[in-house]
């Protein structure tokens, strides 16, 4: 445990970041990371191996399994979609980048995981496929569908931002 604690002192934050992105909140990320560490402790043969690789893989698998097992993401998706529509005006003041992370949480688990690995971890399609234990084509499809869905969900927010941008540009023209 002491060795593991030393390893986590160095790499814990990076792992927690991934876990938080996969789950959508820091608190849930901590729970997920702790579950991954518990699994590591159960399989002590890993303690001398590639700890980080094992924990990353476990985080992705646990995040996907958790949502699948609970079978709730589909119901959650509907609720969140309704919430997003209702909040479209209220969230106008929230940074688009923050909104994008929240919208990420509305994607199905595999799409979300792929996008986090591609856009945060900056893994290639092949690396992502290896980590998730699926084909590269499946990764490409998940990334494409995920981005497409994000564009769809973020549509109203992007429109607001563009509108403000146009207004500001219009003001500048009037002034000049």
């Amino acid at each position: 445990v002491e060795n593991l604690e030393r390893f986590l002192a160095q790499r814990g934050q990076a792992l927690l970041r991934i876990a938080a992105m996969l789950t959508g909140s820091i608190e849930a990320g901590e729970d997920l990371l702790q579950s991954a560490i518990e699994r590591l402790l159960r399989q002590q043969s890993w303690l001398g191996g590639d700890l980080e690789g094992y924990l990353r893989r476990t985080l992705c698998n646990l995040a996907t399994d958790e949502f699948r097992r609970q079978g709730r993401w589909r119901r959650k998706l509907l609720l969140l979609q309704a919430e997003t529509r209702a909040q479209a005006d209220a969230t106008a003041g929230v940074d688009l980048r923050d909104a994008m992370v929240r919208l990420l949480g509305q994607l199905p688990p595999q799409q979300r995981t792929v996008l986090v690995l591609r856009y945060w971890e900056q893994l290639t399609g092949a690396e992502t496929a290896e980590l998730l234990g699926c084909s590269e084509d499946a990764v490409k499809a998940a990334a494409s569908r995920g981005l497409s869905r994000l564009r769809q969900l973020a549509g109203p927010l992007l429109h607001d931002e563009a509108h403000l941008h146009d207004m500001a540009a219009g003001t500048a023209e009037e002034r000049s």
Partner: protein, 297 residues
Amino acid sequence: MNLDVEDLLRAGLERFAEQVPVPTGLAHKAARAHRRRMAIRAAAGVGAAAITAAVALAATSGAGGAMQARTTAYMVSRVENALASQHLVFRGQTTTTLGPSVSWVYGPRHRFEELGGNGSQPYLDLGTALIGGKLTNVYVAYYAHTWSLLPEPIPASACSRTGALEMGTPVPTSNWPAFIHATLACGAAAMTGHARIDGMDTLTITGSPVSEKLPAKYAKAIREKWLQARWILYVNPRTYLPVRLASSARTYGGPAPSFLFTSVTHIQWLPPTAANIAKALITIPPGYRRVSSPANQ
């Protein structure tokens, strides 16, 4: 402004990652949880013992959130009551990244004084003055020797977005205790723990962080798009009156470097002597010229 979803997602993940703290004691926590699970599993071998342990564990973990909510509600109600029933003179000495200011509040009287000249000279005053025997909101610019009438500038509580953003700047000019009272009552804050202030153990109440899009013209002028306000109120656990307010407002999201404006207000509750009450009123110096609005000052 790049509105490409991929770029926004990358930037969003980076911003999100900045908020993730360095975790501590993860392995030990996991080891403890692992041992607990093993113990429960072992107990499962002897039937009823396993059920008892599992129920106890579930009860403990499930009770945490509810307990926290109850504690917050209790704390907040104590602070609300303390603020509602106090008859003291509020004095707030604020230090900001831009300069010092002092606020005085007593009942409907309030005065916010910004100081210049190394904090010794009055620069401007906002608040109430007695004009024709009536309390009237005024704005006095000492540097210009002018004054004007001022509409009530402060929202009722931080539950509106503009109200919440007020908390990120120095203490507002209106009835600050009433503002805090209403803010706590409408649930825009939660009890978050303890902190030592001037050697005293205080309770902390933290407001929900609020982001607001800046008005287009202002955003263009400062080359930023957003403002995020945060605040923490430190409360005396004996009297339940606030003793300090720390707040910040950060601009971000534009081409200019992010700017952080911070302010700390040291709060005192003074006896309502005639001298202290008088300080909550503005006296317009003789000879000052009245102008139509603060914008002309």
